[in-house]
Amino acid sequence: MSFDQFEREVATQDPSLEDWNGLPPIVAAEPDSWSSGLIAREIAKVPVPSTQPMPGTSLGSGSPATLAATDVSAWFGSRKVLQRCSLRMEARQVTALIGPSGCGKSTFLRILNRMHEVIRVAKVAGSVELDGVDIYGRELSVTQVRMRIGMVFQKPNPFPAMSIRENVLAGLKLSGTKSTDRDALVEECLTRAGLWTEVKDRLNEGGMSLSGGQQQRLCIARSLAVRPRVLLMDEPCSALDPISTRVVEETIQQIADDITIVIVTHNMQQAQRVSHQCAFFLVEEQGVPGRIVEAGATDHLFNQPSDERTLAYVTGRFG
């Protein structure tokens, strides 16, 4: 369905939405405190007292952190792909970013740990704060940001030149971090990623010898080993079979207590299963940057969304 059609359809359904194209839709304050606008804003302003993160130094040093994006816009060259998106991703919560393809979810995610700027022509505006510290500012270097905010990619990408064990420890090696008890760390991370029992006898085999689902869990374990405070997942299950998907989802639920998780997904059921809160991204018409149309508690977004377009999307009427 084209956006014109969609627009018309929505308009006929709800006359009050006729002028949504001109004005930002007012997103209703959710009962849930995390998205409650002004409060969240206040929280974002006040630096949250947090233990100084020292990733990877000892077990359990990383604690979940709140990630707050404010007025984030993004460009590829001169093409604007994101329009002033703001979102708070609360600690100990799983946030799902949903929306049709090409609406900027992945771009938004990559902005959250400065992977966006890896692309040469990419530009970004706005600010992203990790417990009140601007990740685009001078306090943290790019590498420090990425160590605190890990990322799991769509396609499993273990390092082919390393063994399973080396893959798990790759983050430490790559960031030059010293670690005392590597064996314990390997076991702990693989256990948390739900892979330990399957690979404990062949830790020295190549990472590429695993199946796709195992590879993805290895990548999760690899991200966990640097003790990130936030873990970003870009459609982690889209290349996996249903069984592997379930295992990965279980893993997500297990680690959510310790790590703030932001997950991009195309799968509505998955968003419902794993996330506590959701943000719905949408490109309203061709050539216009993507925006966050609505964000809120997952239950709320799926059952009684404030926006008609959200309703249309989550009920599978387009996308």
Binding site: R148, G150, F153, F159, P160, A170, S175, G206, M208, S223
Partner: protein, 397 residues
Amino acid sequence: MTSADISSGEVLTDEASGAVPTMLRGPATARKGPRRRRRVHSVTSEVVADIQDSDDDDSPRSVGRTTSAVVVEYTLATLTAVNLVVALRMLLDWGGLLSFVVLFLVSFICFHYALVRQSSTKELAADRMTTTLIWVIGALVVASLMWIFGFVALKGVKQLRPGFLVRDMRTAGPNTPGGGVLHSMVGSFEQVGIAAAFAIPVSILTAVYLHELEGRMARAIRFIVEGLAGLPSIVAGLLIFSIWPRYAGIHAAEALAILMIPTVTRTSEEILRTVPDSLREAALALGAPQWRVVTRVVLPTAKSGLLTASILGIARAIGETAPVLLTAFDSKFMNKNPLKEPQSSLPTFAYGNIRTQSVLQNDRAWAAALLLLLFVLVLFTMARWIGARGAKRLGRN
């Protein structure tokens, strides 16, 4: 096949196909249009018959084997061509094996085309003709390659004895036997070794600059590197001699390095391109600074490819004659010091000895050439082996 052998006259006659030389059976394995379709039709009825009356015979049927018609075409064309060539040879009075082969092939291809053209489409006839042509080209190239290898091996093995490998030419002369290539091998290893020790790291780092860092000068550098790849080897020798007009092994190494850098850089860049971007992103997302991404992830992943590229670069350098002769010249004696005095190397040794009229000297040249060929062969086999191992590992990607 019980009911099989059968159903139509045009299906496979095993005796006939056995009589056809393997070379000519090639085209029959082709996927060829009209013929095959006809046969498929007959297969259907056979299969039905099989299901009905026999279930113990389940051997795969051979598809697209030579049919008798094809055999007849080939035989007829061969015979006609032979006749014509014999007649032509009488008329033209031009002897020699070569003329016979050439004339035979030309007339064979023409007759064969005409024959096939009579019974089937132009398309099929063209297919047959090109098939023959390409097999002929294949045989021709393979034969010349074997000729080259065989000739060098045959000529070289005469002098290639253990003593040849451990002596220099101090006491031996054009007519006094003995002598050897030790001094040349030492020279070659030193020159190529120094060249490789400089050129390979520089090339790989240049490739890293071009592909990983994508620095500001990247386009200009890439342009220059491509230009340098076309630099004639003798010009590299001239350049070094223009800068340092005296003979020494180190100068030969410099000239060889100039020749190695562009080739190794270009292949290395190609290989870095095969490392998936997802690995770089994964490493960056773990908080790695770029230099660690390159040294810990990109280069190890590309290791075998880079090694292959380097070995092939060395293999090319070891056989270079002209630039080495212009910069290190040649020597009869062992000179272990690459920093001064002329130094011999395998190619210059071979060239110097092949230019003389002495049979003994020529034999020494052939032995050196064979040795050179063996070194290239060893290096090449090494490169392929390493490359294949690396491909296997990345192949599971």
